[in-house]
């Protein structure tokens, strides 16, 4: 991963972009490791034949894996996870083995003692042969609220 730019709370201003954090490329081993860590053993994430029988060209990541990386990025932006008060994501497309994940965010507003941000994780890569995916697209979009220190 790239080193995130950790920011201090008194330096947070509405409209500021949070420095991109890049993870990956994601391997099948990463997906397996997350299966054990999370308890999500759906075979569509590990069994090529099963995935193909379900209409996918190959296995792909469970959505909570890139979501976990995105939560990691948010934690690093704000000096650790301990002031995170809300983390919400929508899943918009699949993430494939070989994809790089680019996590990005922006400070929307500071109100009620919270820094409210929009966040996203983009998948970047060729994707499986035959799918003709865009080179880069948003896989997860959401919001995170971080409490300002007293």
């Amino acid at each position: 991963m790239s080193e995130p730019a950790r920011i201090t709370m008194d330096g947070v201003t509405p409209g500021m972009d949070l420095a991109e954090v890049v993870f990956g490329p994601l391997s099948r081993d990463d997906i397996q490791r997350y299966a054990h860590a999370s308890g999500d053993f759906n075979p569509i994430h590990r069994d090529e034949d099963y995935a193909r029988a379900q209409g996918a060209p190959t296995v792909f990541a469970m959505g909570m894996l890139p979501a976990g990386y995105l939560a990691h990025a948010v934690s690093d932006w704000f000096g650790g996870p301990q002031r995170l008060r809300r983390f919400k994501v929508r899943f918009t497309t699949r993430v494939w083995p070989g994809d790089v994940l680019v996590c990005a965010g922006r400070v929307l507003v500071i109100e009620d003692g919270l820094v409210k941000t929009t966040i996203e994780a983009r998948r970047r890569g060729d994707g499986p042969a035959g799918l003709d995916l865009p080179e880069e697209e948003i896989a997860i979009a959401g919001e995170a609220d971080i409490e300002l220190p007293e």
Binding site: G68, Y69, S75, Q82, L84
Partner: protein
């Protein structure tokens, strides 16, 4: 249409240090507050804490089949996508504690899709409390059951 199930399901989520370290490593973490007691204390924590999305491990305690059987949302998992996930935190889980999770169906609505067909949106909400009964976090797991083949979207556990 709205048909909220009234039933609740209660389970335990143990937050073992080993599971915390395994989970943190799986999301690329190197922050020592997930791995090292002394480092966590130096960062102002009472001890090792779990990463923000750690509570997804609740699937170990309540696998899909049991959840469906006991909460009765009756989803057809051949047509179900993980649409959204939200966590609201009072604090992060601490290594060594055992949280109590209380899961219910918080939302069950049907909507007309934009390209024909309908979809059903079901949110399973789990409130996690600690041994004192205080709130730790709430996790909302939203599934979308489509009326068409979901082959271009996210699969679910």
């Amino acid at each position: 249409m709205c048909s909220l199930a009234e039933r609740e399901l209660t389970f335990e989520l143990p937050v073992q240090a080993g599971a915390v370290a395994e989970f943190a490593a799986a999301v690329g973490e190197d922050n020592q507050i997930y791995f090292d007691e002394d480092a966590a204390r130096l960062s102002g924590m009472p001890g090792i804490v779990a990463p923000p999305t750690f509570s997804v491990r609740q699937i170990y305690a309540v696998p899909r089949e049991e959840r469906e059987e006991r909460l009765g949302a009756n989803l057809d998992y051949g047509r179900v996508l993980h649409g959204e996930q939200e966590f609201v935190y009072a604090r992060l889980p601490a290594a060594g504690e055992v949280l109590t999770g209380t899961m219910r169906v918080a939302r069950d609505v049907s909507k007309e899709g934009t390209r024909g067909g309908s979809m059903r949106i079901v949110t399973y909400e789990t409130r996690f409390t600690d041994v004192q009964g205080d709130e730790v976090l709430t996790s909302s797991y939203t599934l979308i059951e489509t009326s068409k083949d979901p082959s271009n979207s996210e699969e679910t556990p």
